[in-house]
């Protein structure tokens, strides 16, 4: 048996510590590791980019800006798929998550979604003055409250928690897709989505709750990646996941407030 074959058969080291599962997957010493501080800074950068794009979209209304906003949302969607992948029931991963793309896709996502939410917010503000400040404030209030609950261990994300949130999120996603198809054929929206009565408000509250609980999963991703000494690009991945959920939460809170004010 040659030395090479022997190494293949028995492994390089007999040391149980080196061969233990805990040692696998740790980042090599010459690679930069992620930190919580870095993830926070990247979240700040993404938030800044989103707000800047939203400000442009808010101030320069017109058909061109509508096209840019739609394009921005499409580009953000593609960036999201390229980074988070796409999981579908029974099919599994159609596109696997590629977190190493995050440093490139995260800023594109932030700017694209910024254009979209700027236009959306402007339209909401025209209908109900003061609603945007309320929605932004409530979004940060919910995010800060859940972060406090997560950091103190009040909310503990487990495998069952993940399954529950994932199933509910997919359910909401499928409802929105079905609503789009329904709208394309009939020109009407689903009752639960358009209703400003108790049913519509309860549905919106449920969606806001699920979006908020998704934040807990994002906090856990960042925390665990930091603990395990994940590569530097995971800072962008964590920040992008957090931004995606914050934007979703903002849109849902805005929708809920519009329903409440439209009664």
């Amino acid at each position: 048996m040659s030395r090479h074959q022997a190494l293949n058969s028995f492994g390089r080291s007999g040391n149980p510590i080196i061969r233990s599962a805990a040692f696998q997957g740790t980042v090599s010493t010459n690679e930069e590791r992620m930190s919580l501080e870095g993830a926070v800074n990247k979240t700040g950068i993404l938030l800044f980019l989103t707000v800047m794009a939203a400000a442009v979209s808010w101030n320069f209304q017109g058909p061109l800006m509508s096209i840019i906003s739609s394009l921005g949302m499409f580009v953000a969607f593609i960036s999201g798929i390229m980074t988070f992948g796409f999981y579908f029931f029974f099919v599994g991963w159609i596109v696997e998550p590629r977190p190493h793309n995050a440093p490139k896709t995260a800023p594109i996502y932030a700017v694209g979604m910024g254009f979209f939410i700027g236009l959306l917010s402007q339209q909401a503000e025209n209908l109900y003055p003061g609603i945007v400040i309320q929605a932004v404030s409530l979004t940060f209030f919910v995010a800060a409250s859940l972060l406090l609950a997560y950091k103190t261990g009040l909310i503990k994300p487990t495998q069952n928690f993940l399954l529950m949130i994932f199933a509910a999120t997919m359910g909401i996603f499928l409802t929105y897709i079905a609503n789009l198809v329904y709208f394309a054929f009939t020109g009407n929206y689903f009752f639960v989505l358009s209703d400003t009565g108790p049913v519509g408000i309860l549905f919106s509250l449920f969606v806001v709750g699920i979006a908020a609980l998704n934040l807990v999963l994002d906090f856990d991703i960042i925390e665990q990646a930091d603990e395990q000494g994940a590569p530097k690009y995971m800072e962008w991945f964590g920040a992008m996941a957090l931004m995606a959920t914050l934007i979703w939460l903002y849109i849902e809170i805005l929708r809920l407030l519009m329903k409440l004010r439209g009664r």
Binding site: R3, P97, S137, F141, T152, K156, P157
Partner: protein, 85 residues
């Protein structure tokens, strides 16, 4: 009639003032919350959160560990090449 219209206008002004107070209050709440959010995000979670057996294994779903271990195994295979083979 004119008195009724004046009362209506006063009511509308009162409502607008109440709305602007609400906006200022929620704006301040939002600023404070954003500050707390970015401040807390820098700290590690408590041991109550991190020292548990039933945590979600994110590395199973997000392949950042495979990426690095693939790099390591490539280095290892280069290392294991012998001149005599």
């Amino acid at each position: 009639m004119a008195l009724y219209r004046d009362t209506e206008i006063i009511d509308e002004i009162k409502r607008q003032i109440a709305v602007s107070y609400l906006t200022i209050f929620t704006g301040l709440l939002g600023l404070f919350s954003a500050f707390i959010f970015f401040y807390l995000l820098r700290f590690k979670a408590s041991t109550k959160q991190t020292d548990r057996d039933n945590r979600i294994k994110w590395s199973k779903f997000i392949p950042y560990r495979n990426e690095t271990s693939k790099g390591d195994s490539e280095k290892e295979s280069q290392d294991a090449t012998f001149k005599n083979d």
